[in-house]
Amino acid sequence: MKHVLEADGIQLEFGLRKILSDVYISCETGTITGLLGRNGSGKSCLMNIIYGVLRCNDKSIRFDHHKISIPYSKPGLIKFLPQHHFVPKSLSVKRIFLDFGLDWKDFEERFSESSIHNTHRMMDLSGGQRRLIEVYIILASHAQFVLLDEPFTHIMPLDIEKIKKMMLEEKYRKGIFLTDHMYKHIVDLSDHLYLLKDGKTWLTRSSSDLETHGYALMGKR
């Protein structure tokens, strides 16, 4: 059965500056929905609002057409990868996998070259290794929807390809909503692609729309 997560009617202002004003996002289970936009366009704010950790003037977040006020408080509904590190440094990798109910062996098999052991604490790992763990636990977690804010940042190219492969596998179990400045990966992966510009979302029909809206020069790929 398909589920749908929708967000619209979001009004966000910082002082006199209007960040989000006319947003509509829809993400279905079984699909990957991408979000692109320039720096400061409000992509991360939008994700934080959808997840329920950023308050705004007005919003409507709906799951299967029913309004929900704090999505993260609904068990099994949604998980969020913020653009910053979010796992406490003092925790061991083993403990993190236990908290999220995940199988360490699957990670080991997928990312065998990562040289991460489950006895490592997060503080022992490099920034890229920490990010890899964070991306994995959110992507593999038991949730109907995952929000991924810059999942490819700080990750080495080899692991980016593995994460992309994992996303294509995981999308059959959940809905994936992601944003990243490495837009070529987003364009490759997304079934639906939105562009956030001037506080509004535009559903793009083709890659050339990104050029039309002044986001990227697609002809230079």
Binding site: S73, P88, L91
Partner: protein, 102 residues
């Protein structure tokens, strides 16, 4: 099992300010044994101020880590209410039930 898991996660959060608060509790305990019930409310005030300051600084410096707990289904309100109530109970139990050692 789920309840045990939740308790384990809450204790992980509690550990972030455990040392400072336990040290405060110990100081209060020593002062209480020294001066008795006459300073009970002053000590309670001291304990509350330290707890308040802990909350303030954790909300600033550990703000990003709250997403970890949110992802595990625990809200900030639940984390604070459970840990602060637990800490105050421990404080009151130690103060009133432990016989004077000095």
């Amino acid at each position: 099992m789920k309840i045990l898991g939740t308790i384990r996660i809450i204790f992980t959060f509690y550990k972030t300010f455990f040392l400072l608060n336990m040290a405060t509790t110990m100081v209060c305990l020593l002062l209480f044994w020294q001066y008795g019930w006459s300073i009970f409310f002053q000590l309670l005030m001291l304990k509350s101020i330290v707890l308040g300051l802990s909350c303030y600084f954790i909300r600033i410096y550990k703000k990003k880590e709250f997403i970890y707990y949110n992802n595990l289904g625990l809200s900030e309100t639940l984390l604070w209410s459970s840990t602060l109530v637990f800490d105050l109970i421990i404080y009151l139990l130690l103060l009133t039930k432990i016989p004077r050692l000095l």
